[in-house]
Symmetry: none
Subunit: 377 residues, 2 copies
């Protein structure tokens, strides 16, 4: 029996425990209407993009591009797509808690329809977030700009809801004391993270990277929150939610996807509460945040940092902050505080021990930057 329970037949008003951390099979509007109202903290939705592709596209080497031509992405008109969007958005709004927020991802093919419908239904837009792709597909015919990003809309249930969750300080501390911007840089979901089908091809045509969902949840949820995904697909939302100590609810129509997602989520190991202190994803180049040393594996949580004269000792945490006892913050803030100064460059102030001698953590940053340059070359 899979560790992820499934519900195919919901009772009219199921108890909370029944649908939490499950994947519901069926049409998303019908499934949403069976869930209790005001029961979900955050919704992440990756709806069909309504791509309108005519022929087949070939690369310059004449290989064929494997496009998204699934039936679920086909709509007869903009009006039909709008009606579909209104229906699921309305149903989603009912299950959202008054102070809940919703994330919707899309491309220029659909995101303008989506945003307009959201505004019409009373959702209050908080930000649009740009996912900049490090490795987007090129424009093979040289007819347009390389479509190198997707857009996410982050919105509250209505204009009046002001107490939505936004972990501003945590995001900022892990981002070198700069507030998190609306443009995020992440690679596509490829390699081992990408689920494969029995033929070795991609299981799902549009699987999203876990790093993207991780930043979303770290920004807009708290541990124990409920995250709903009405277009569950390969289950990235569930996998990240479980790893980060959040509950999930997935809805999907395809048994193939449900089975694969359930297996995937069952294999996820939740992080310890301590590790959850707050960890962040990659940030915009070329600035290197201290947190990225941890992400890159160059620095492990729990590592001790010292100033050059070993007068102070700090502890590295998983979220990219450091702490001396209860005093936690960015490498810069903690460095400034212990010295009683306004400011401090943590990169040169803090050192790590290697073979008995101290080396500034700036050396590790240099390593990361070199890697970024190589990647960009």
């Amino acid at each position: 029996m899979s560790a992820v329970r499934r519900i195919e037949q919901l009772a009219p008003q199921p108890k909370k425990a029944e649908w939490l951390d499950t994947i519901i099979k069926g049409d998303c509007v019908a499934a949403l209407e069976r869930l209790p109202e005001k029961s979900v903290d955050v919704i992440f939705a990756d709806p069909p993009y309504n791509l309108q592709l005519d022929g087949t596209l070939h690369r310059p080497d004449q290989s064929r591009v494997d496009a998204v031509d699934d039936a679920w992405d086909q709509f007869d008109s903009f009006a039909a797509y709008d009606a579909f969007t209104r229906a699921w958005m309305l149903a989603a709004r009912r299950v959202l808690k008054p102070n809940g927020t919703i994330w919707v991802i899309g491309s220029y093919h659909n995101i303008f329809r989506v945003g307009s419908v959201m505004q019409d239904l009373g959702y209050w837009l908080l930000n649009d977030i740009v996912w900049r792709k490090t490795n987007p597909m090129p424009n093979f015919r040289g007819r347009r700009f390389q479509n190198a990003h997707e857009t996410m809309i982050w919105a509250s249930r209505d204009k009046a809801s002001k107490s939505y969750t936004f972990n501003y300080e945590a995001l900022k501390a892990a981002n070198d004391d700069l507030q998190m911007r609306s443009d995020w840089l992440f690679p596509l979901c490829t390699g081992k993270e990408r689920l494969k089908n029995e033929d070795g091809g991609k299981l799902h045509p549009t699987q999203k990277p876990e790093a993207l969902l991780a930043r979303i949840m770290m920004a807009s949820t708290k541990p124990g929150d409920v995250v709903l995904d009405p277009f569950f697909g390969s289950g990235t939302t569930g996998a990240v939610a479980k790893r980060l100590g959040r509950h999930f609810v997935g809805i999907d129509r395809e048994e193939t996807y449900i089975a694969a997602a359930a297996e995937r989520i069952a294999a996820v190991e939740p992080l310890d509460d301590i590790d959850l202190a707050l960890m962040q994803g990659k940030r915009a180049e070329p600035r290197v945040a201290f947190g990225s040393l941890i992400e890159a594996g160059l620095m492990k949580p729990g590592t001790l940092l010292f100033d050059a004269k070993r007068r102070w000792t700090a502890n590295v945490r998983a979220d990219g902050t450091i702490a001396i006892g209860d005093d936690a913050g960015s490498i810069h803030r903690v460095g400034a505080r212990v010295q009683g100064l306004e400011a401090c460059n943590g990169w040169t102030f803090w050192h790590f021990e290697e073979a008995g001698s101290l080396k500034p953590i700036d050396e590790l940053r240099a390593t990361v930057r070199k890697g970024m340059q190589v990647a960009a070359a």
Copy 2:
């Protein structure tokens, strides 16, 4: 006398249309309706989005909206903004040439309305472009992500128009030989570039940086093209157009802005023609038939052609075809057939031997083209 002419005080000019390189004062819809249809190559529009349009906002039933009414009706407001957007977009579409394109810039407050209306009116979206700001305004309350970008929509007049201008090769060359992406990085318009009023404050609230307009025009116009800006404001579009050897037409309602923009544009020094040269790709070069190489004596019947790895050998025939045994046809068809592909560019696939090494026959085509240029000069 200002170097920028105004529509009220025009002297008759022999060839150039009266409205070229002028600023038209008035409501943008009315002004657009007085311009000849299909007369403009590119439109750049930075429409207002604050819903406080004092008089220009009308409901679909033509009733006027009181934008400062305390009884705020969200739906009415969006509907009114949509109606305003439809009105100017429709008028703009009439003056756009069949192969013209339009750029519209906005933020998450209005861009979703704008994009939806564009799709509804038949504009065909080519890209959405993200302007990432190097120095955006912080989020002061710490309740959202720093809004660090704006979105531009680039669209053609309709789906059928395929011959819009896109200077792909030039952009790529300027971008370290990588195709230009949909995310652009520019600073805000500040410092000396920013127009000031008599109090020393900013003249216009949303003056766009010239670098942004320069990339737009370098991407989607050719020298001598006509660029229309229906919300001219501080005149950035006109200033950049003049500098880059493009014509402009501006529309604005405010005399203050018109006067400042006229003065600004008058001070602009156009670049020399030689600096305005556009890098052209092969698709802009005259077509050369393979047979003309034989006629020009650059290739003799009986010459052997090879692919780069010498897996196949073909024989040049006097009629401009090539043959492998009995299999004869154009350089493209034979190249495709031996590879088992649908298509093949014979110019780059086939090579001839010179001094023991292989050179693509494309080199001979370049020679012919060079001769054609000399003959035309």
